[in-house]
Symmetry: C2
Subunit: 488 residues, 2 copies
């Protein structure tokens, strides 16, 4: 593993903020076991029901009931950490343990930039975001559907998105889950890119399987999950929880339901293919009781995030959650307050895979260019934060402490000279000018500064080198598949 | 203690985020003792030097050297917690232990609002901020110089500010430190307001004694400190640290210097009057190596905040730090990212007294009306966060979990009905509308919304009742002092 790669993905050696006591964790575990055993989870897929039954779960119609022993047995088969490979080996990421991976926003049908406002997103937006994610040293993963390319045919746009990730970035990426066939296409593409052997050893895809909460998995997700698990590609099982509408309004209840749903999916994954890489996901927001709308950045979801991370660790599973969520429609103060209300707990809870780490606006409906840039700078700060505090002799700087007289100045000391390059995080976008200088430079707010940065970055972008043979292998498959899809 | 008061000031029962190991704490303590013993601290006040010498410190010229035993002996005399009384007893606050107190920004010479932009602040601004702080349920303290009333004479404006705190609010407040005479005036005013006996038992003032870092206390601060400590009023000893210019550029060194300075001031306070209430303060920012300007919200100051809080707890002292700092000139996304970069660590480190908790802009040069409103909403979220997670039976909501079918909805359940009023924090200002509704309502950003809220709040303001006799006693003193100051 090269130095560069080490520098890229942070490893969190800091203490974790543990909000729950061990007794509290045990209580949530026991309540979860009761829900799994007596309440059950619906699996809307005959093949899944067959697999679950064969492996010892109790099946009645589409309802599946799990005893605590089955949960324990199959959860134990899932790896505690795994590596997702990237086409640039230096960009491969560890998922789980002390490793942290930041990935862009996923799923918005709209894009926003200062000049054009909010509009239906296109493949051009998609490519732009792949490029911006590639260029940021604080984004370790190219993500999946960063924005929907609405100008492309629905049935084949997954192919265009995958090609975009492969051509415009060399970071790892996610597979399609919109149909089992799209999942199979994703697997075939990484097989051609990495080779069949390589993707058996380590997954080249990490894909998002959402639970259709409360307590059900739909057929598309279950079939996509099976495609990935059979090919030993990684999946994230994420209950889609809005406490108060899709789960109990109280946190203990919402966490219990989330845990039951996540464990049911994880256990099913291990029944499909024992040892297949799987991530415990949490996407837990609250509901505005006035409008019924989801609320991001609430104090309750902060608490839930700490607790969810602890619960995932209790089962020794890699954990996905967090990001820079906001309900705001603009990259205004609200958007940043809310983003941090999730992002700092994300850091202190040691979330392993952070989807939606940059660019999220409007409850996930919009990918914001300027927000992306600002969020990335914050991710850089978080990455510096993980370094914690060094208590070596040099860091105490006793030579400087004794050299500088009372009322004196440290700027010129040898100690400052030795350390100034690395002491502080260097912002890419925050404005530290004093009022006069800021006034002279045009009184720009952070959105204007970020808008300028977007243009500079896209203008400076150069593709990472890609082996022509591999590129051809991927492109010829995509061409064939597009032809088949047009014919059908 | 009434329910209302309990509801007002939060008590943090959550785990604290402890960043340093015990070994790390011990290392910083040892380095601090070396600085105090061999490096020394300058006290620019002959009377202070006399007191320090009498009490066993080694004095050479204006330099004072402290052995570890003297530090230990006098730090132990300081109370671990104390109560600062307010003229409404329900608003009295505990300082220290699990108690948390939020106070407004302190010191800016400018005010900002959306209509008028940034301008020299006036007594009208001062009164407005006292009123806004009074009206917020999440501000527990009226603060001190919220903004400078630049339209009033310098030599008597401390009297106008104190009167403003007393008349327009019933929350506790801070005393003047701009001269020993102004400190004495502050004490006389609270003596008239509360009675001589009451302020001997519990302080009615909490005042800000800054260290003129590195390693020196100036004469004004030392004389003001003595006035307060002799009258048994509380002081906060705060080293003014910009790591890289006023302290070593590395955190271990900056924390060591801060600790030496804070302990020297605390020990001196206890020599002046053993048992006098005193708070360990930290105001530790970093420096932008490009411009030399202070940087707020850096990852390094987050780390330092956690460590500083631990160090204060090591000495069993109440701790002041944190707030909603920003270097931004506007209430834009940057201002909110940076505010949260300090405010969340402030919460998780259990800072006891949070000065600058609302309204801070432009590295403390400006008090922002809209920022104040938005910050207060975030303080409300933090206050809700302190409640943590309740793992009682009702909170698990097993009735609802079993009642709602897979794919069903929790909104109509009995459990939701029983809990919806208290389950979630109710925002005062964040916009949770969907895009269409937000568009229909005029596409307002958070600054516009906050600006409207400022006007509504100030229009709705009513003074808390104040005993006429006490008011007269304060006003007659102020009138006399103003006459004396005019004559001089």
């Amino acid at each position: 593993m090269s130095m560069f790669r080490e520098a890229l993905q942070p490893f969190d050696k800091l203490p974790i903020y543990e909000l729950l006591t061990e007794e509290g964790l045990e209580k949530i575990h026991q309540a979860t076991m009761k829900v799994l055993q007596e309440g059950g989870i619906a699996f809307h897929d005959p093949e899944a029901l067959k697999i679950l039954k064969t492996n010892g779960a109790k099946v009645e119609g589409e309802m599946v009931y799990f005893g605590a022993e089955i949960i324990e047995e199959f959860v134990a088969k899932a790896p505690e950490t795994f590596t997702q490979i990237a086409r640039n080996p230096d960009r491969s990421v560890q998922i789980g343990g002390e490793a942290v991976t930041f990935a862009p926003v996923y799923g918005p049908p709209f894009a926003f930039d200062l000049e054009n406002g909010r509009r239906s997103s296109t493949i051009q937006d998609f490519e732009n975001f792949v490029k911006l994610a590639y260029l940021s040293p604080y984004i370790h993963h190219s993500g999946g559907t960063i924005v929907e390319p609405n100008d492309l045919p629905v049935n084949s746009r997954h192919l265009d998105m995958l090609l975009s990730h492969i051509v415009y970035s060399d970071k790892p990426f996610m597979g399609s889950v919109t149909s089992p066939q799209n999942a199979a296409d994703s697997v075939e593409i990484v097989r051609r890119l990495f080779g069949a052997q390589a993707i058996q050893e380590n997954p080249a895809l990490l894909s998002l399987i959402n639970v259709n909460s409360p307590r059900q998995f739909d057929e598309t997700m279950l079939k996509a999950l099976r495609v990935y698990a059979e090919a030993r590609q990684a999946v994230i099982i994420t209950p889609f929880i809005m406490a108060g509408s899709m789960a109990p309004i109280t946190l203990a209840g919402a966490l219990t339901q989330q845990n039951a749903e996540a464990l049911a999916g994880i256990v099913y994954t291990q029944m499909v293919n024992p040892g297949a890489p799987v991530v415990y996901g949490s996407y837990l927001s609250t509901v505005d009781m006035k409008t019924g709308a989801p609320v991001f950045g609430s104090p309750e979801s902060q608490v839930a995030l700490y607790a969810s991370a602890q619960i995932a660790r209790y089962y020794k599973l890699p954990f996905r959650s967090g990001g820079t969520y906001t309900t705001s429609k603009l990259t205004d103060a609200q958007s940043a307050y809310e983003a941090m209300m999730t992002m700092i707990p994300t850091t202190l809870a040691r979330v392993n895979f952070v989807l939606h780490a940059a660019g999220w606006l409007e409850s996930g409906m919009t990918a914001g260019y300027e927000k992306f840039i600002l969020d990335c700078d914050v991710l850089g700060m978080m990455q510096k934060f993980y370094k914690g505090i060094d208590l070596s002799e040099e860091e105490f700087g006793m030579d400087a402490l004794f050299e500088v007289e009372p009322g004196g100045h440290y700027l010129g000391t040898d100690h400052t000279m030795r350390n100034f390059r690395t002491a502080f995080y260097q912002t890419d976008i925050m404005d530290y000018n004093d009022y006069t200088q800021w006034d002279m430079e045009g009184r720009k707010d952070s959105v204007q500064l970020a808008n300028e940065r977007v243009k500079d970055l896209l203008a400076s972008y150069e593709s990472p080198p890609l082996d022509e043979g591999k590129k051809d292998a991927v492109e010829s498959f995509i061409a064939r598949r597009k032809q088949e899809l047009e014919t059908n």
